[in-house]
């Protein structure tokens, strides 16, 4: 039997924009692949870069960090800090042999349900194309 590869994605979503956006995708019944497991955080700025590293260490195929669009942070600046942290972590992980395409930082607002589903779909697609992580 041929097993299709199902990548596992951990998603850290800020409560105010992206988590609400994910909820809206549900309310609008927008289907997307079931590969993502969402962890709700108050702000994308709560995401310690080590959470991301830890998820990868445990075996995540992809990690999504999603927050409010720049300028829209519920806490005024949180996502700007996230952008710097993830912006530095991505090239670093890539350098260490973990393709930077596996770590995504996206801005999804509470009104962007459709966008959220597109992000998950395209991320899942990318990961399927890349295949399992080499260990």
């Amino acid at each position: 039997m041929e097993l299709t590869y199902e990548p596992r994605i951990v998603g850290f979503l800020c409560n105010w924009c992206s988590y609400a956006g994910a909820d809206l995708a549900g309310t609008s019944r927008t289907n997307y692949p079931a590969n993502i497991r969402i962890i709700r955080v108050p702000c994308s700025g709560r995401v310690d870069p080590l959470f991301i590293v830890k998820a990868f260490q445990l075996g995540a195929d992809g990690v999504l960090v999603a927050g409010c669009h720049p300028g829209d942070c519920h806490y005024s600046d949180g996502n700007y800090h996230t952008r710097r942290r993830v912006g530095l972590l991505r090239p670093f992980l890539d350098y260490l042999g973990l393709d930077k395409a596996r770590l995504r930082l996206e801005w999804v607002s509470a009104s962007e349900g459709k966008r959220f589903s597109e992000v998950v779909s395209s991320f899942t697609d990318t990961l399927i194309k890349m295949g399992p992580r080499s260990s």
């Binding site: 289907n31 700025g45 445990l58 519920h74 949180g78």
Partner: protein, 666 residues
């Protein structure tokens, strides 16, 4: 030992239509520490909630997981339900298996069920690590500070005071009244500005609940909603207000004359002065920059260099109450407040930035506000409109709109909103003063959004016979006695040269100098122009991101008088609402510092958007961070940045989040 109960909702068929709830229940029963797992048709219904309450009691549950709709939907509902069964409401975790599972994976029951099981597993893993949390109650100091004594601040102060609360009204200048006090008439009614403003100023002065602090500035603001501690600098007036009766002898006799700020340099005032006749308080201050005796003292102190200034002291000699206090120094006053209203208003854009219009070098190119003073009966010319250069009566007057507005090149892209209207007012009033005057108004667009505004504008064309020329002038220069305005009549598409006797620049509004510094002290945000930023431009127009601090009037953006007054009242209503209870409940989801782990690098202090983190020294003399839980909004920015993991966010601890991640692979 945690005893977890898991309750899985069918949500009618909303969940069970895509997720095999029975399998989720079965899987949940096997999860670590789970004592009971069951399902419900509608968990949020009263019977559904009752079954949870019952299960908590009968199974001695101390943690609850509800797998249902989004926590953004029913978290408060279920917290109450859990709480009703005697459990701390924060020992609840919700697995979102509807919005983020059944509704988005309806095409694949197998995967949806598998995901639902994992979502429950994550919630169980997290809830085991939940701790009971307790909201804190903080008392509210029912006393408000209103910063800015213009019409907005006056209105806010009066409304708060009339609601029965104490108010301190703080004004940086020697009198309240603000910009409105400088106006001659107001559009579109042509009311006498002073006639409607000064009674309100007197009300402020006489109100038993209002304390007026003029000639004062904010030094530092600490604390949080309900409990602000504000340090105020009372500038040195050199006049003892406890003795002064405001009789006026001093300012009549003072021999020194210096350009009047109130009259925008068009007239003069003495060194000991009240800014204008109806000033409140009607007590003078001594302007230390121009006072002869102060200069003499400075000369003495400098060791007698240069020419000896006269040792005047006339005011002191003639003051019947002995109120002159040469040695008075600035004082710091510390006051406590429960709420702060910021109404610092605006200042007129300084047209010196327009070098192409002469950069302020031509006396006959004046600002609209200067014209107000020229028109005002108590102004420097007694209401006679004359050219500042030679005192003649101008017959041809050119107006230039949008000076310092809608001009990206001057760093002011916004529309100042009031200039079209006040220019129309000026044209009408000039015509009233002198029927021979012909006004030409250079404009880009005429904006008349307001009740009766368009009708007023039409009067300018009709009654006043003003000629509107569409086109922003490019240059103003002097040719003999005339001021030449170079423009284009955009409607004809041809250049135009207009020789005018007087040019009035309709200068726009900008925030008061220092608005940014004040905003920093208050920890509220401001935009690139230094206008203060409201919490939401439509739904929370007078609130800020900082609880307990409200904004009103032209410090937020260009506003006319009716809007400013409305905002002052709106802010007052918000303050009264805040003061309607004795205490405030604060969200327990806040950051907390582990003092043992903290290295005192203070990165958290630097990034906290709410200035909620401070530092203190431990007994073993280490400097560590400390969170002011009343200021903390629980964003967790500090936690994400803390290298030693010394700071954590209640409700979203690293432990909890890691357990969620771990549970996906265990």
């Amino acid at each position: 030992m945690a005893r977890v109960g898991v309750f899985i909702c069918h949500c009618g068929t909303n969940i069970s239509g895509a997720v095999d709830v029975a399998r989720v229940v079965e899987a949940a029963q096997k999860m670590p520490m789970v004592v009971i797992a069951s399902d419900n048709k509608y968990t949020c219904s009263e019977p559904g909630q009752a079954s949870i309450r019952q299960a908590i009691v009968s199974n001695k549950l101390n943690r609850v997981v509800i797998a249902a709709c989004s926590p953004r939907m029913h978290e408060p509902t279920f917290r109450k339900a859990v709480s009703a069964a005697g459990l701390n409401p924060y020992l609840l975790e919700i697995a979102n298996i509807r919005e983020q599972c059944s509704w988005v994976h309806s095409h694949d029951r197998e995967k949806a069920t598998a995901k639902a099981i994992e979502l429950v597993k994550m919630a169980v893993a997290k809830v085991i690590r939940h701790e009971p949390l307790y909201p804190r109650e903080v008392p509210v100091t029912k006393r408000a500070l209103v910063i800015g004594g213009g019409i907005t601040g006056i209105q806010a102060a009066l409304d708060i005071a009339n609601a029965g609360h104490e108010v301190v009204l703080l004004e940086q200048e020697p009198s309240i009244g603000g910009r409105m006090a400088q106006l001659d008439k107001t559009f579109p009614t042509l009311d006498c500005s002073a006639c409607i403003l000064t009674p309100k100023m007197v009300d402020v002065a006489n109100h038993p609940k209002i304390r007026l602090l003029t000639y004062a500035e904010i030094k530092e603001v600490r604390g949080f909603v309900g409990n602000f501690k504000v340090e105020i600098t009372q500038k040195a007036r050199k006049v003892d207000y406890s003795k002064c009766t405001g009789c006026g002898t001093c300012w009549q006799k003072c021999p020194e004359k210096t350009p009047s700020e109130f009259d925008l340099g068009l007239g003069k005032r003495p060194s000991i002065y009240i800014p204008f006749a109806q000033a409140v308080p009607t007590k003078p201050v001594i302007d230390t920059d121009s006072c002869r005796y102060i200069k003499y003292r400075q000369w003495l102190a400098a060791g007698e260099q240069g020419k000896k200034p006269p040792e005047c002291r006339i005011c002191e000699k003639i003051c019947p109450t002995g109120s002159i206090a040469w040695d008075q120094e600035p004082q710091t006053i510390t006051e406590e407040f429960g709420a702060i209203v910021v109404a610092t208003g605006f200042q007129v854009y300084d047209h010196r930035h327009y070098e192409e219009y002469g950069g302020g070098a031509y006396p006959d190119v004046i600002s609209g506000m200067q014209l107000e003073r020229l028109m005002n009966a108590s102004g420097p010319t007694g209401g006679e409109i004359v050219r500042p250069s030679d005192g003649t009566h101008p017959k041809t007057v050119a107006f230039v709109c949008c000076v310092g507005s809608r001009d990206q090149a001057k760093g002011r892209t916004y529309c100042s909103k009031v200039c079209c209207m006040y220019t129309a007012k000026h044209a009408i009033m000039l015509k009233e003063h002198d029927p021979d005057v012909q006004c030409y108004i250079f404009y880009i667009d005429v904006r008349t959004g307001g009740k009766d505004y368009e009708e007023f504008y039409l009067r300018t064309l009709d009654d006043a016979g003003a000629i509107y020329i569409k086109g922003r002038p490019s240059k103003i220069y002097r040719d003999g006695k005339k001021m030449i305005v170079l423009g284009e009549d955009a409607l004809m598409g041809r250049p135009i040269e207009l020789a005018a006797d007087l040019v009035v620049l309709a200068t726009g509004m900008e925030p008061r100098t220092g608005a940014d510094k004040l905003a920093q002290k208050l920890n509220i945000s401001y935009n690139t122009y230094h206008f203060l930023v409201e919490a939401h431009p439509k739904l929370r127009p007078v609130e800020t991101q900082t609880d307990g601090i409200f904004v009103a009037g032209a410090c937020v953006g260009p506003r006319d008088i009716p809007e400013s007054v409305a905002q002052g009242s709106a802010a007052a209503a918000k303050v009264a609402g805040l003061f309607s209870s004795d205490t405030l409940v604060t969200d327990p989801i806040t950051s907390v510092v582990n003092r043992e782990r903290c290295t005192g690098c203070l990165l958290c202090v630097a990034i906290c958007p709410y200035k909620a983190i401070d530092c203190e020294t431990t007994r073993d003399t280490r400097v560590v961070a400390v969170v002011n839980e009343s200021l903390c909004k629980g964003c967790g920015l500090c936690v994400g940045a803390c290298r030693p993991k010394a700071i954590d966010l209640r409700g979203f601890t690293s432990q909890q989040i890691l357990e969620e991640v771990n549970s996906l692979w265990s």
